[in-house]
């Protein structure tokens, strides 16, 4: 188990990798990758504990990234864990790479499912969770959905169905970064009130700061204790978190930084690492 300070340091190092990968690709989704990276880092390092050895273990915990456009964050974690090469991460979106623009299960089975056409990953996660129950396995299934994605009809079908099957091995995490391509969620198609909707749908609902490792851990530990119903974590996040000019800037939902922006982003992220962790060590 890594300390929260170690997780925070890793997540910030991975932010640099994400920015580099998207800059190399000259396209991609930095905003939603940076908002998701803290949660994905926590899950893979402290819960799922994925290694090259357990990657296909039938008892492994699963993580399905339903918001497939955030995949640079997932690739960055997979690279850090040694499941893919660092240069594969840097070949994001390039011809012949396993690091496709959106997760492709046939190219890279560590992603657990092909996603990116929004609204579909949660149903797949439910299927995996049902199989776990059928086979009396103890694995957990984590599924991250996007807030814009939550406007999809299939998501609500899925939200209606998981409690029916008493899937207490399923934990959905909403990366609630408040914006989508065409604008703020509240203007495009408001989701609120999310908490009461989900409670009415018979989920165990929790609300956290998705960048605070104490809160992430607490919610996941609560999920693991709740019986007979699935859990839903509303994780309030900041789109583009960690790079000042990307934060809460819809422009960076789906565009790569140019050279100047790239350099500026690296300066900021490196400065953050240096100040916080070098100082701590000193």
């Amino acid at each position: 188990m890594l300390t929260h300070s170690e997780l925070e340091r890793i997540a910030n190092e991975l932010r640099i990798d994400i920015i580099k990968a998207i800059y190399n690709a000259k396209s991609g989704h930095p905003g939603g990758s940076l908002s998701a990276i803290d949660i994905i880092t926590y899950l893979f390092f402290n819960e799922i504990k994925r290694t090259p050895e357990n990657a296909f273990d039938p008892d492994r915990d699963r993580f399905v990234l339903s918001k497939g456009h955030g995949v640079p964050a997932l690739y960055a974690v997979l690279a850090r864990l040694g499941l893919i090469e660092y240069n594969e991460l840097m070949n994001l979106r390039k011809l012949g790479s396993r690091t496709q623009g959106h997760p492709s299960y046939q190219d890279l089975p560590y992603v657990e499912a092909s996603t990116g056409s929004l609204g579909q990953g949660l149903s797949i996660a439910i299927g995996i969770a049902i199989a776990g129950k059928l086979d009396k396995k103890n694995y957990n299934v984590y599924c991250m959905i996007g807030d814009g994605e939550m406007q999809e009809g299939q998501i609500w079908e899925a939200l209606m169905s998981a409690p029916k099957f008493k899937l207490d091995n399923l934990c959905v995490i909403l990366d609630y970064n408040k914006s989508q391509i065409d604008g703020y969620i509240k203007d495009v198609m408001d989701l609120e009130p999310i908490e009461s909707k989900l409670t009415a749908f018979r989920w165990n609902v929790m609300e956290i700061d998705g960048h605070d490792f104490d809160e992430i851990e607490k919610a996941i530990q609560t999920f693991k204790k709740i019986l007979d119903k699935p859990s839903f974590i509303i994780a309030h996040t900041i789109k583009g978190k960690g790079v000042s000019f990307m934060e809460d800037n819809i422009e960076f939902h789906g565009r790569a930084p140019n050279e100047k922006e790239f350099e500026q982003a690296l300066i900021e992220l490196q400065k953050l690492l240096k100040e916080k962790w070098v100082k701590q060590q000193g």
Partner: protein, 306 residues
């Protein structure tokens, strides 16, 4: 008259459920119609009722397949293939080992009308990489196809009828995936037919026999991958090819045969099927007559083009 192919499916899958514990069946509030209820009664713990949520059901099937199960995901052909993008990404692109069961194929369902008729489903499913598309023509072939599907690797779309169909094959029939089956010989014309229309083609064979015209009838149970060699071989022999399906002529069996011939042995193809229209309500017999699917009309179409 034999059984509807949907019923043969329900009976077969509930028998196979005893042997293979990985089989799971899902339905979206149509289990009585698709006949998946037979499995549900026998194996309630391996049957999942999703209510009227076809897209979610398809995705859940994909997740079950990714966890080693063999899901049979059932609904009407039109409703289930209508959730195309979920099939495209969650099943086809993921290459999840799901069997999509689409019952109530074609105008043959009759009175319920267009909204319940699968008329473009083959066209949709045939265009998806990794997918195989099959349509059996009687209860025996259905049983053998479903048995085969357990070992098949990759997603399959299986198209079944609401209406009962005569029995063509014997108990010892061997299903060969991807291979056409000659069900009647003839030396003057050839027709490739699938599903319910195999029987109409056989009726046409009998009618034409009385007029000394020999119609060869080939049953195509696997529409994708299609039996290329058999099609080319027969095109060479007859110089003209007929196709028949209870489906749109756009993208179905007729298109599949035409594609093979256009690239390999350009031959005129006359397609019997729905000509770029929706269906309508009516008795199955009256609809088959109106759209020239019945044996008599098939015989007339063949004679008129010879």
């Amino acid at each position: 008259m034999g059984k509807a192919t949907r019923l043969a499916f329900g009976e077969t899958i509930s028998n196979l459920g005893e042997i293979n514990k990985d089989i799971v069946v899902l339905d979206a509030d149509l289990s009585k119609s698709t006949t998946s209820y037979i499995f549900a009664k026998k194996f309630p713990e391996r049957f999942f009722e999703l209510g009227i949520q076809e897209a979610n059901m398809i995705g859940i099937s994909a997740g079950l397949a990714l966890s080693g199960k063999i899901p049979f995901c059932c609904s009407f052909a039109c409703f289930i293939t209508g959730r195309y993008d979920t099939i495209r990404i969650s099943v086809a692109y993921t290459k999840a080992n799901v069997r999509i069961i689409g019952t109530h194929a074609g105008i043959g369902i009759g009175e319920d009308g267009t909204t319940q008729m699968g008329l473009e489903d083959v066209s949709l499913m045939r265009s998806l990489p990794n997918f195989s598309v099959c349509q059996p023509c009687d209860e025996i072939e259905t049983r053998e196809l479903i048995k085969y599907s357990i070992q098949h690797k990759g997603p399959m779309y299986i198209r079944l009828t609401r209406q009962s169909l005569p029995v063509i094959f014997n108990e010892d029939y061997v299903f060969e995936f991807g291979k056409g089956v000659t069900v009647a010989e003839g030396n003057d014309a050839v027709i490739f037919a699938t599903g319910a229309l195999v029987h109409e083609a056989l009726k046409a064979h009998e009618i034409l026999k009385n007029e000394s015209i020999g119609l060869k009838v080939i049953n195509i149970h696997t529409i994708k991958p299609i039996d290329k060699e058999l099609i080319i071989e027969n095109a060479k022999k007859f110089g003209l090819v007929f196709t028949a399906e209870d489906h749109s002529i756009i993208g179905g069996l007729g298109s599949a045969v035409s594609e093979v011939l256009a690239e390999n042995y350009p031959t005129k193809v006359i397609r019997i099927g729905l000509p770029n229209v929706f269906g309508e309500s009516g008795s199955p017999e009256s609809l088959y007559k109106k759209y020239k699917f019945d044996g008599e009309s098939v015989a007339k179409t063949i004679k008129a083009n010879l």
